[in-house]
């Protein structure tokens, strides 16, 4: 994690309240190095957009400092911050052509006409929209509009670009194409990006690091793989990817394992993440794809449990099966659609198993 001097963007104990009674952002500390692609991920109302707006200058922090390249920017108005921004509704000016939209930030910076033209052309080529310069935004499709919005946010060469759910209004296929294009551009240009989304797939595929927001706090700030593999608390585990939760009480804690007595009576081994003492309630999290049906494949220290098949869903590349395990009936496993895969019939009882290291004991 970047700290201190080489931090490019830094939130230092930032708080924000709109009504003077509730904090929308509670004690936010975040620092990111230059060139990083950081995603703020969270459900709506978690404070992620407020953070972005504070960074852009459209909201003022109630308390704390926001620093850009080491300088506090709390008192700098938005138009002097030099931060590019892409909005969910694109915010292309409807009364200007594409080229005029792109030239706008250059005009307000009083660049010469030649330079403007040159930069506009380069930016349009960059998003492969060179032939659309004369069109009006209303004559473009959603995806095309978002490319133009992206080009406009980049045309004046900002070092930091903020994106507020830019792909939220697009369909799935287009979203995936643009996800790739945006990350590609960001890396090519070496810009720093703060990206806000509530779509976890988007966050995982695009980002260098993801900050998961909930109730005005960052719950976990980590790389996508850490976030998925090693969630630090049950909210993150639930929010990122699919997750099976078994509730119970900590029975024993050793250095790197703990024993959890489930409410149904079984005891399982798990990695203690944020459990501190025996007797504490805990939620044990297991990813569906880490659960093995063919228990013979697992090593000797694997857990095995009896499970009843409730529902079998065919999803093409994978099968999703809902089971009743240890008294809960929304335990889900995912199995690959491979030639040797057994097909599970509802009503049958099977053995399932997993390795203790894939099993994380989190806060209740």
């Amino acid at each position: 994690m970047a700290q201190g001097d080489d931090a490019f963007v830094e939130f230092d104990r930032v708080q924000k309240s709109y009504d003077g009674e509730n904090l929308v952002v509670k004690d936010l500390n975040l620092s990111m190095p230059k060139g990083e692609f950081l995603t703020m991920l969270g459900p709506s109302g978690s404070g992620k957009t407020t953070c972005l707006m504070m960074l852009a200058g459209f909201e003022t922090a109630t308390h704390g400092d926001i620093r850009l390249k080491g300088k506090p920017i709390n008192d700098i108005p938005p138009h002097k911050r030099g931060i590019g921004m892409v909005f969910q509704n694109y915010a292309l000016f409807p009364h200007m052509t594409v080229a005029e939209n792109l030239a706008f930030p250059l005009q307000v910076r009083k660049m010469s006409k030649d330079v403007q033209q040159q930069k506009v052309k380069r930016a349009l080529d960059m998003v492969q929209m060179g032939t659309f310069a004369g069109r009006r935004p209303s004559q473009l499709s959603g995806g095309q509009q978002q490319r133009i919005a992206l080009a406009r946010a980049l045309v004046f060469e900002p070092e930091l670009v903020l994106m507020d759910e830019p792909l939220g209004a697009l369909d799935k296929q287009l979203r995936e194409t643009l996800q790739f294009e945006i990350t590609d551009l960001a890396h090519k240009l070496g810009i720093t990006v703060v990206y806000v989304t509530h779509d976890q797939t988007e966050a995982l595929t695009m980002s260098d690091r993801v900050a998961v927001f909930e109730a005005g706090r960052i719950q976990q700030l980590a790389t996508p793989s850490q976030l998925y593999e090693e969630p630090q608390n049950s909210f993150v585990a639930q929010f990122i990817g699919e997750n099976n939760t078994l509730e119970g009480v900590v029975a024993e804690i050793r250095d790197d394992t703990c024993v959890v007595k489930l409410d149904s009576g079984e005891t399982i081994d798990a990695v203690p993440v944020n459990v501190s003492k025996v007797g504490e309630r805990t939620k044990v999290s297991i990813r569906p794809e880490r659960v093995e049906v063919d228990t013979k494949k697992l090593g000797p220290n694997a857990h095995t449990l009896k499970a009843e098949v409730l529902e079998f869903i065919y999803m093409g590349d994978i099968f999703r099966t809902r089971l009743r395990v240890a008294g809960i009936d929304d335990f889900v496993i995912k199995t690959r659609n491979s030639p040797d895969q057994v097909k599970l019939t509802p009503g049958s009882t099977i053995d399932i198993g997993w390795l203790p290291r894939d099993c994380r004991a989190l806060d209740a």
């Binding site: 915010a91 000016f93 706008f104 307000v108 492969q128 499709s141």
Partner: protein, 563 residues
């Protein structure tokens, strides 16, 4: 980015390009519907029912508007060119006067005075002469009294001839003699059978009498009609007018050929023999005796100029011009009011519109951007004036603005003006502009608000994030998008202002009245409806011209009253 060439487009359905391609592909013939009829025909058939239903839904309103709005307005506008009163009231005079050349003789010849004597007799009996007098008085003042005076005495003209005919033979005194000569047999029969119930039978001339005694027949017919309709009397029992005897004298003098089988042929022949020896009357002198204005060439020229059934006179008058025998000319300096009034109306309406934009724009912005609770409260304040009578609001301004009014008192009290120099805020253009700006402001705010409501705040944010200052962001991004609202508000306010009446009437004094006040004056006080209609028509044309110009410049599609 590898997809960009075939990327977004293939995901968004028909674009204009692909639409064109589809359109071109069926150039082999018209598109056919499933049953083989051309697609256009079957589409039209499907739409026709919808259209008919739509028409039926609006039919009551359409009928209502047509009857209560379009038709009366059309009729009113028609009055601006209609001028049948001169030809209808003085048919004989107008016919003879057409030959008169004002450049050759000072006043028209005796034939015209003779015709005038007959026309005026009929008109005064029907009491039409005063209406004609007021009509012609619009063109030359004084004519009204001329006609009134003449109408009182015109029945004496030709008395001389009456006496001479009666002296010749007492039969000429008998109304029955005239009935025998002029009345058609069917009327005589019907008239004898008339029992006082319902309408009297319409008088008809006897066959052939029109050719033998044309002038007398014509005036006798008028006489019979007037006696029957106006006086509800029997022409067979009423002594004819003096002008009938005058006409008879003229017909006989001019060598009427009396056929032997004509009724009272002997009587007529005897009269014809005696006529050359009759003492004559100088009709011109007789008229001049009644009013010396009958020697005024101007009067005759006016009658001649306005004898056509349709006239541009009202429109010329409305533009401070007049129709003279030499063509169109300006009215005398001291009578020119309408151009000044039109110009003033336009300038003040523009001023009011601009004032409404300046005052309304910030309010519209506030309304669109405040949280909904405060916005609703503000909206109620904006709409509040609508719940008060226009008259009350205007009167309130009178109280506020007058010399000893609230505003002047306040200004004196804070020492802004001295007690002796109180501001003249009412009974002038200032008063009108202040009061009308206040009254028309909601018509500006509402369209502005509804347009601004649709401009997402993210545009301003985007502009600022791109480096625009608050002012640049507003001026280059927000303002252009609010222009349709300004346009809609301006059209509303301007068109309402241009035809405003009550407020200028109450607070405008003489310097702050609009053209509409003048129109109202002509409708209700001077009763010159033709001029009022012409002024109204010009106002309508001006409004339409502005609308047209606006459409050309801004485009009426850009006018938004909401969403």
């Amino acid at each position: 980015m590898s997809d960009a060439t075939h990327g977004p487009d293939n995901l968004t359905g028909i674009t204009p390009d692909t639409g064109l391609k589809i359109g071109k592909s069926d150039k082999d013939g018209p598109m056919l519907a499933a049953d083989g009829t051309p697609l256009k025909t079957s589409l039209n058939r499907a739409l026709r029912r919808q259209k008919r239903r739509a028409l039926m839904l609006i039919a009551p309103l359409l009928l209502f508007i047509l009857l209560t709005f379009i038709y009366p307005i059309g009729e009113m506008l028609f009055r601006s060119v209609e001028n049948q009163i001169v030809g209808d009231t003085l048919p004989r005079t107008v016919r003879v006067l057409a030959d008169w050349n004002p450049d050759e003789t000072e006043v028209p010849g005796p034939a015209v005075f003779s015709a005038l004597a007959k026309d005026m007799t009929v008109a005064s009996e029907e009491k039409n002469h005063t209406r004609l007098g007021s009509r012609l008085n619009y063109e030359v003042s004084g004519i009204s009294s001329l006609f009134r005076k003449t109408g009182r005495n015109v029945d004496d003209i030709g008395e001389n001839y009456t006496e001479q005919f009666v002296a010749l033979d007492p039969a000429w005194e008998d109304p029955q003699t005239f009935v025998d000569i002029f009345a058609g047999p069917r009327w005589v029969e019907a008239n004898a059978a008339y029992d006082g119930e319902g309408r009297r039978p319409t008088f008809r001339l006897a066959e052939g009498v029109g050719e033998v005694l044309p002038q007398t027949a014509s005036i006798y017919r008028d006489f019979a009609r007037v006696v029957q309709v106006e006086d509800d009397d029997n022409p067979a029992e009423e002594e004819p007018w003096n002008s009938v005897y005058l006409a008879l004298y003229e017909d006989l003098r001019d060598g009427a050929a009396i056929p032997a089988d004509f009724p009272h042929a002997a009587l007529l022949t005897a009269a014809q023999a005696a006529v050359p020896n009759f003492a004559t009357t100088n009709l011109q002198a007789a008229f001049v005796d009644m009013d010396k204005d009958w020697t005024d060439r101007e009067v005759w020229r006016t009658i001649q100029t306005y004898s056509a059934p349709y006239t541009t006179g009202y429109f010329l008058n409305a533009a401070d011009l007049q129709l003279t025998p030499d063509g169109i000319a300006w009215r005398p300096e001291n009578e020119r009011v309408y151009i000044t009034l039109f110009v003033r109306t336009l300038i003040m309406s523009t001023a009011i519109t601009v004032a409404c934009i300046l005052l309304g724009y910030p309010i519209g912005w506030l309304l669109a951007n405040l949280p909904s609770r405060q916005a609703n409260l503000l909206m109620i304040l904006v709409l509040l004036p609508f719940w008060t009578s226009l008259l009350v609001r205007t009167s309130a301004w009178k109280v506020l603005l007058q010399d000893q009014g609230v505003i002047n008192d306040l200004l004196v009290w804070i020492g802004f003006v001295s007690d002796g120099n109180r501001l003249a805020l009412i009974n002038n253009a200032t008063g009108t502009i202040i009061a009308m700006t206040h009254i028309l402001l909601p018509f500006m705010i509402l369209p502005l608000y509804s347009v601004m409501k649709t401009i997402p705040p993210s545009y301003l944010r985007a502009a600022k994030s791109l480096g625009a200052t608050n002012w640049t962001a507003f001026w280059r991004v927000y303002f252009p998008q609010s222009v349709p609202g300004i346009g809609a508000g301006s059209i509303l306010v301007f068109i309402l202002a241009i035809g405003y009446y009550i407020t200028p009437e109450i607070v405008g004094g003489t310097k702050g009245v609009f053209i509409s006040n003048r129109i109202a004056y002509h409708i209700s006080t001077s009763l010159n409806w033709g001029l009022a209609a012409a002024l109204g028509a010009i106002l309508l044309v001006i409004v339409m011209a502005f609308y047209w110009a606006y459409d050309r410049i801004v485009g009426i599609d850009n006018v938004k009253l909401g969403g």
